[in-house]
Symmetry: C2
Subunit: 419 residues, 2 copies
């Protein structure tokens, strides 16, 4: 039977102290939500034995039938998650011969490990092979094995904290461990749809949702992606409620509702460029590479993305992009004219079909009364096409840069999808 | 008196479902940890009234004397945090005239808001001005006001979810609300030091820590920053224990222990370049702009960073960077030779003192037996200096790209700090 109450328990002082951005909880939450069983709760505690043990007990007492733990499986003295799990479910820790072999094999060939004294090395290896009695061992993706522990009606999955290891091992657990596989079998009877809107504010969506019948309204959840200023509307329930939400928002917002299948703007742009056999280049000033990094985060982007110029200093705008020194002199580097010339320049230089450009004031310094922090010009160029758009973003440096990069992608999306 | 038990409560289905990366908990956790009062727990729940109410009650029952809530203050029907807080502490919700004025003022001038019907607009505005009776109103940074609610020995701080709003308003709360200000007054009697190491593995650090006395060992906490593969060692306790940890790791690792004051490698590079009056350019292939984005995330980076070339396609490596077509033909674009020529080329083109380059196979496709996924060459060039380093990173596309960018920064750090 599918799990009915899922919880995620993250351990680690570095997360509680805000030094490391946690990524596993979001990853596994998304994975589970896609299958109709989003977690009921995510808890983060420190490395202390009692903290982890108490938190796990509380989740089990609250009726969780699947608990996913992340972190605290490393070789150091403050990695005590296995001990805490054993205490919470009342089982002793035992050295697992299988786990020990995996630990030793996983560390082979790492030069830094070979620098460690034999005795200490063996001690560290044995520490990582101690699991609650009766655990199913999960082979490591890095050096730390994981475990699945059964306790009454609940399955407890214990995986290491580094995100890449966590994700690899999660894939193994849901494939290879029946007790988990059957709990995460998709609850497929619920319809789900994720709509993405760009260029609307949350209150406008609230207004439209308020016009729906109460039953349909209950199926709707509205989120803002602060990074991109996009609105996401997730609906779930019976198929007709999901369709009613879609119809109402389509009637209200037209093509500002741009995605119905969860695709992001970058994914849509990539698919369209591949289908057309066209290519893209970028010229970035205040975003400093953020747009290029976002585009190339998508595997296979080399098929349509050729590269670009980071023209942070004005000399680069003139030298590599051919921006007229007169333009910078008369209108400034943050101007409609400069954005156009940057787009035209990078397109000519790289010989692509499309080009995007960004120039703006990201702050916190450099703003003036006439050109305040947040003022950004976004340019787009293609054969016979060049224009620029002015935007005024609110927020701090990070937010202004993120929104500028996200908005540039929407400029291209609109060109590709409305012609 | 300083808070002794701090908890953070994050609400939002979009976070529980993994669609949005949560940032406020980490932010406020770091802020508090810097003052010696790291949170004991972070809890994430959905938007449901009961979920939020139950979670808050559990934290208060567990003895929390400061609870920071994030999210669920928006205008839509699923934003019910204020209602949940009121229920948890047994107070009614009341329309606050002050809050209503702030909401109306905060929405003035937003064009999309003016498109909304008057009645609906007023309804939405009043919803956001409903606070638990007796709350201290926190003026909005965006459109949603926050609140501080006193309950027995505890102060409950309720702030909106968008990170920029949250951070602005948190700064106001700790400055302007005495009940919170006195709880976050620094517990200054504890010494703290954050050491950063690069080029060592966690087990090596564990070995050194194991040699310390038990009392000193207890003062040490070892974390890995998975993104950069750096080891962070935080120590806290009395000054002599903190110094003993520093001494032991310095003796063991020399200048692989590169930072003692919390400075990151980028901050150190920036400070050194500013002090020397020198400049930097980058040439990126597989990272696609990630290195440039990381460098320019630092305010004031235009003083030392001039820009760069994203040479994703080989034609760009040859066209803008002057890489010899013969080099690509004979050694491939992912090669020691190509990395050197990219660094030399971008330095010449942008006229900077220093240049860094990155070329590699980020995957998941494009790997071969000879040049597998994870193989990356990092180049560095300066007057009379050019070399390249081969690295083999494990992990997925995102991790390989992040590590490549982070390692390039360390290349330059080592040049700047060992000469």
């Amino acid at each position: 039977v599918t799990a009915r109450r899922v919880a995620i328990l993250v351990t680690g002082e570095e997360i509680l102290q805000g030094r490391v951005q946690e990524r596993n909880a979001g990853y596994v939450a998304g994975w589970l939500a896609d299958r109709g069983i989003p977690p009921a709760r995510i808890t983060v505690v420190g490395d202390g034995l009692d903290d982890v043990c108490d938190a796990l007990r509380a989740l089990l007492d609250a009726g969780a039938d699947l608990v996913v733990l992340s972190g605290g499986l490393g070789p150091t003295h403050d990695d005590r998650t296995m001990e805490a799990v054993a205490a919470a479910v009342g089982l002793p820790l035992e050295l697992s011969g299988d786990a020990l072999e995996m630990v030793v094999a996983g560390r082979a060939g790492i030069r830094a490990v070979e620098r460690i004294d034999g005795d200490v090395r063996r001690q560290v290896e044995e520490k990582q092979a101690l699991l609650p009695r009766g655990s199913i061992v999960i082979p490591p993706a890095g050096t730390a094995p994981g475990a699945v522990v059964s306790h009454g009606d609940a399955a407890i999955v214990v995986l290491p904290g580094p995100p890449w290891e966590f994700q690899q091992m999660w894939a193994r657990v849901v494939r290879d461990v029946p007790a988990v596989a059957r709990r995460v079998a998709a609850a497929s009877s619920v319809a789900r749809r994720l709509l993405r809107l760009h260029g609307v504010v949350e209150s406008e969506v609230a207004q439209e949702v308020a016009r729906l019948s109460p039953a349909v309204m209950d199926a709707v959840e509205i989120g803002i992606c602060a990074r991109t200023a996009e609105i996401e509307v997730a609906s779930r329930g019976d198929a007709s409620a999901v369709q009613a939400v879609d119809d109402a928002l389509t009637a209200a917002f037209g093509n500002r509702l741009y995605s119905r299948d969860g695709s992001t703007a970058i994914e849509m742009v990539a698919a369209a460029l591949v289908a057309r056999g066209e290519t893209l280049a970028v010229a970035e000033s205040c975003t400093g590479g953020l747009l290029g990094a976002a585009l190339t985060n998508l595997p296979g982007s080399s098929r349509w993305y050729h590269g670009g110029v980071i023209a942070y200093d004005n000399s680069v705008k003139q030298g590599l992009l051919g921006v007229d020194p007169d333009t910078v002199q008369r209108h400034g580097a943050v101007s409609d004219q400069c954005a156009r010339e940057m787009a035209v320049g990078v397109r000519a230089s790289l010989g692509t079909h499309w080009a995007l450009s960004i120039t703006g004031v990201a702050g916190p310094e450099g703003g003036t009364a006439e050109k305040p922090v947040g003022l950004v010009y976004l340019g787009i160029a293609a054969e016979g096409l060049v224009h620029a758009h002015e935007r005024r973003f609110r927020g701090d440096r990070e937010r202004i840069r993120e929104r500028a990069a996200a908005t540039a992608i929407h400029l291209l999306r609109r060109e590709l999808f409305t012609k």
